[in-house]
Subunit: 226 residues, 2 copies
């Protein structure tokens, strides 16, 4: 069985699925989707209108929704969650922190103001909102504190010795900001060491090769010893 | 094992957990939490700051996060999801539609503008945003169309003959709006019939008895033949 993943390179939720499919050894092809353009062909497949969207090439069935899609692919290949219920709760809850709280307080603002508005300049009369950018850049510190707290209490990864869903969710959000150079890594050496570990995995390599036309890629983005 | 649930009566995510715990036959006590007040004692238990929060009275362990909390309690008592992976995906994805898309496009606006601002009047200088209220009241129609579409293709409930997660997620959002009288039920007779079915379940009864001081409860809210 093979798959097609509709994604946008700087969409953190697309990134998470790309990493997880690779970790699971699932073959897939990418389709580049600028979701904010609301292309009719894409909306017909996925009425939520946002990336990622996964389609089975054999059954043509469609899977979308950040949480629903993950729970579905978790049944295929190596598991990203611990088998113990209590530990699986902790892993899901750290992932949900980054998917929801980090995204809404940090990534969303920077993605909208510094990427999407930049790419649609001329098409819309809306200019970047500098107070949203300032808020995001301020908010990131409490999330780095949270990462630091998790890493102080764990052995190497966010939920213990084994890498998994929580790490991939957090690294997906951070990697979008790292692309545009907006992570103050010097603030948390523990978080930086953890991110370097995640970044060095083969599943992460295709993300490091992403280059989005029109969006400046920071110098340290591809560098494992940043 | 017994549980304590920190909830706010008009928080749709709290409502969903209240219904599901009842459906599963799990005993719990309620703690009334005005989450927007950001009470220090609550934030110490739950750094996300939002309801619901579930605590085990024996182990004192804490569970929060809309998605993580559900997946954890799904291991206890009767299952709310089908056992087939494909059907479980469909159920989760309909639930996610209402938890994320419906909430962000409809419930969130009306809850903030018509409930929270009303309750904090005098404490803040912010007055209700009438354009947000208008947007929510317009957006609800496409969601009623979606409900209609699901119900035309299914037998009784949103994902088939058996009631489950999708129905409870959707009804939780709608019930908050129904409390304040903001669901145009006459627009979709199919959705109305489905909601009457969900509303008549014993698990829903405690919600119908909710009365929030200061917030007018619409006449049809408690009525099964509305």
């Amino acid at each position: 069985m093979s798959w097609v993943l509709y994604h946008y390179p700087l969409c953190p939720f697309s990134r998470k699925v790309r990493i997880i499919l690779k970790e699971k050894g699932i073959d897939f092809q990418l389709v580049y989707e600028k979701y904010w353009e609301r292309r009719r062909g894409f909306l017909l497949l996925n009425p939520t209108g946002v990336t990622p969207l996964l389609q089975s090439t054999s059954s043509k069935k469609l899977y979308f929704g950040n949480y629903s899609l993950f729970e579905f692919i978790e049944n295929i290949g190596d598991r990203m969650l611990p088998t113990n219920d209590e530990e699986a709760y902790r892993a899901r809850s750290v992932a949900e922190w980054f998917d929801v709280k980090f995204y809404n307080e940090v990534t969303r603002y920077l993605l909208e103001e510094k990427v999407i508005k930049h790419l649609t300049v001329g098409l819309s009369s809306v200019s970047p909102n500098s107070s949203a950018i300032r808020a995001a850049k301020k908010n990131i510190f409490s999330h780095l504190d949270y990462l630091n707290y998790l890493l102080q209490n764990q052995a190497g990864y966010l939920c213990g010795e084994k890498i998994g869903l929580a790490d991939f969710a957090a690294a997906s959000q951070l990697s979008v900001l790292d692309y545009i150079g907006d992570v103050p890594w010097e603030y948390s050496p523990l978080a930086k060491t953890w991110y370097a570990l995640v970044k060095s995995r083969p599943s992460f390599k295709p993300l490091l090769e992403d280059e989005v036309p029109g969006i400046y890629r920071s110098a340290q983005y591809q560098n494992p010893d940043f």
